[in-house]
């Protein structure tokens, strides 16, 4: 009899992919996907239970199915498929987590809890150290939006870990997840034809590839491998960092630098008419940037991502198609210029 895994938030692409992946795990006997809406994609052989984690009904699901591993992925920055408002998202994030954790507390079979969090819990401020470790206290706590939800969710998870010391709790703080089907606000931002940036700031960004995110979640939801420990809080990010200017050049999308007050004002205006859900904390991230340390991920969790930050971004750029100024065209132009010049200016060395 294998493990019984309950996964929340399976109507999202990432949740769906995770459910399909975890079924291939030999230790897993049964996978139950939970979400408030029917997923549009296939969940493989997993069972789907239409349940809203904001309601106490989730406790009955847990009690009735002998779940021993809970993977909580229903913590998101944006509403699914453009429906619903920010308030609903916040409620699902915070109240949903509270209900789910309450249900877990009453379910004696639960032995493992994995929570998908985000590195946005660190916030972004000029007075923060350049690289965050899992223990860095943020100088300025996120004031609202998804980041604040994530901070609150992590607080509840810590409380749960105190009350149920027999449950292995693993919080994975993911850097910005990018991939072919990622539907994060950042992916949306990088799909704009011209990227508005904040004048005079060039943030450092870090990405993690979807495949790596799935693998990290799988690793955290199984038994720890020899010599590793998969309970605790871990930053999950690809190696290295990219500057926003570098990202825009690699994507081939020109930037439009704007004054910071203009950006904040425009963001508020666009949000209020519902065009985009670009929150102030996201603007802060695109102003000051954020890089996390991943030593714990490698040494304690024993997870080695397949993609570096640059490779994740390259994969993403390939899936998005060329922008207005594709880097290949620019490179060709420079090469042509080099050929026109009288010198034999090919690669001489």
């Amino acid at each position: 009899m294998g493990k019984v895994v309950l996964v929340t938030g399976v109507a999202r692409q990432l949740g769906g992919r995770f459910v399909r992946r975890i079924q291939r795990d030999p230790d897993v006997g049964r996978v139950i996907g939970v979400d408030a809406v029917e997923p549009e994609h296939s969940l493989g052989g997993a069972e789907f239970l239409k349940a809203d984690i904001r309601h106490p009904a989730i406790a009955r699901v847990l009690a009735g199915t002998n779940v021993d591993t809970v993977v909580h992925m229903d913590i998101n920055g944006t509403p699914l498929g453009g429906r619903g408002s920010r308030a609903t998202v916040k409620e699902t994030n915070v109240i949903g987590t509270m209900q789910l954790l309450g249900a877990c507390q009453k379910a004696p079979n639960v032995k493992r809890l994995v929570v998908k969090s985000s590195t946005s819990v660190y916030g972004s401020a000029p007075r923060d150290p350049a690289v965050f470790t899992e223990t860095t206290p943020p100088k300025s706590l996120p004031s609202g939006g998804f980041a604040k939800d994530a901070v609150e969710v992590e607080g509840y998870v810590r409380g749960f870990a105190r009350r149920r010391p027999d449950v292995a709790v693993c919080v994975l703080r993911f850097a910005n997840i990018l991939g072919a089907c990622a539907d994060s606000p950042l992916a949306e931002y990088f799909s704009l034809p011209v990227l508005p940036t904040v004048l005079g700031y060039d943030p450092r960004l870090q990405f993690v590839h979807e495949d790596d995110a799935i693998e990290a979640l799988c690793l955290a939801s199984g038994k720890p491998r020899r010599g590793t420990l998969n309970s605790g809080t871990f930053n999950i990010a690809g190696d290295g960092a990219l500057l926003l200017s570098q990202c825009s050049r690699r994507l081939g999308r020109p930037t439009l630098p704007l004054f910071l007050p203009t950006v904040t004002w425009a963001g508020t205006a666009l949000r209020s008419v519902g065009v985009t859900d670009f929150s102030p904390e996201q603007i802060r991230m695109l102003t000051h940037g954020r890089v996390v340390q991943t030593t714990q991920m490698r040494e304690t969790l024993g997870f080695h991502p397949k993609y570096t930050t640059a490779e994740s971004f390259a994969e993403f750029a390939r899936s998005r198609g060329p922008g207005l100024l594709p880097p290949e065209v620019l490179a060709r132009t420079v090469d042509r210029l080099a050929a026109v010049l009288p010198a034999r200016s090919g690669p001489t060395q």
């Binding site: 005079g200 450092r204 290295g240 940037g289 620019l330 200016s345």
Partner: protein
């Protein structure tokens, strides 16, 4: 302009200065050819840059420049976790600062060999000059003169990372926030880290207090160096004090703008932007003997007495070297 009040030291009488000069000149010649092969290495690594060795033909330089342009336009360059863009720093930022360093301030570097050729080191320098030009010149000095081609990673005040444009350039030039976490990370990676523990107290002190070292913060730099087990290299910079003689401070204006001070110099703000031109003083940067820290036990970093003693030792060394250099100095401008 009169020199600052200096206390001549017995061990270095004025009479010895003259005998020392040729010696120093002699010591400089073997150092001079060193940067050249290094630049060659740098070009091999970077596969060509806009700034070639003197022997290079114009065509090759254009080709190198185009390769550089191609990499920059397509974003195919590397930055580290701190946002340090080595290529941009080497090829552009240093080239911009070099005329200021060589022609304007005519910086003379002494004791560069005190910076270890590999492994981490913490350079502790005095801070002065109203605007932090001394940090930038220190960076050029290490970059251009160190035989092993080391890159200095400066720790900067948080104000630097709040200001637009400045924060972007600072990050790209390899500077980072002066906090224990960042310093430790860099030192553990084996970088040469530069710190000016006097901070705003040092850089914004009035002209009358020139070459008087201010308090060295809380001595956090010593415990960071101890934890990382890297040597501390004291560094004295002479000449930066006189570039903007700060004779007054518009405190209200500073508070309104959010700056720690708003300097009033004989030329600024009376002459407008012209007042921003620094006085062409002659600089000397002297690196002192490294103070090893690897002999202490692991818990030494938490011993406040030892911290104070080491901080004082570093401070005294820098202050004494400053006095010595001032005694040797012929004039502020030559």
């Amino acid at each position: 302009m009169a020199d600052a009040k200096v206390i001549p030291f017995g061990e270095e009488p004025r009479s010895r200065r003259k005998t020392k000069r040729p010696g120093r000149g002699g010591r400089r010649t073997p150092l001079a050819p060193v940067p050249e092969p290094r630049r060659q290495d740098g070009r091999d690594q970077a596969a060509g840059g806009p700034q070639g060795a003197p022997g290079e033909s114009l065509e090759q330089r254009i080709a190198g420049g185009l390769r550089f342009l191609r990499r920059r336009l397509t974003g195919e360059y590397e930055v580290d976790d701190f946002g340090y863009d080595e290529e941009l720093t080497d090829q552009v930022l240093m080239s911009v600062l070099r005329p200021l360093y060589e022609k304007y301030f005519r910086v003379e570097v002494k004791g560069i060999e005190n910076i270890p050729a590999d492994g981490g080191a913490l350079i502790v320098a005095n801070h002065s000059g109203t605007l932090p030009l001394d940090g930038l010149m220190l960076q050029v000095a290490v970059h251009d003169h160190h035989p092993a081609g080391r890159h200095l990673r400066l720790l900067a005040a948080d104000l630097v990372f709040v200001l637009p444009v400045i924060n972007e350039l600072a990050r790209k030039a390899g500077h980072t926030l002066a906090c224990a976490e960042d310093a430790q990370r860099l030192l553990e990676r084996g970088e040469v880290v530069g710190v000016m523990p006097e901070g705003f107290k040092g850089i914004g002190k009035p002209f009358a207090d020139r070459y008087k070292l201010q308090r060295f913060g809380r001595g956090g730099f010593v415990s960071t160096a101890l934890r990382a087990g890297v040597p501390i290299v004291p560094c004295s910079i002479v000449g930066a004090e006189e570039i903007y003689p700060k004779i007054g401070d518009a405190k209200t204006l500073a508070r309104v703008l959010g700056f720690p001070y708003f300097p009033l110099t004989p030329t600024f703000p009376w002459l407008g932007p012209l007042g921003l031109v620094p006085l062409p003083t002659k600089w000397t940067i002297q690196f002192g003997e490294p103070i090893p820290t690897d002999g202490y036990p692991a818990e030494a970093a938490d011993d406040p007495m030892l911290m104070f003693n080491l901080t004082d030792q570093v401070r005294e060394t820098i202050q004494h070297t400053l006095y010595k250099l001032l005694v040797q100095r012929r004039s502020v401008f030559f």
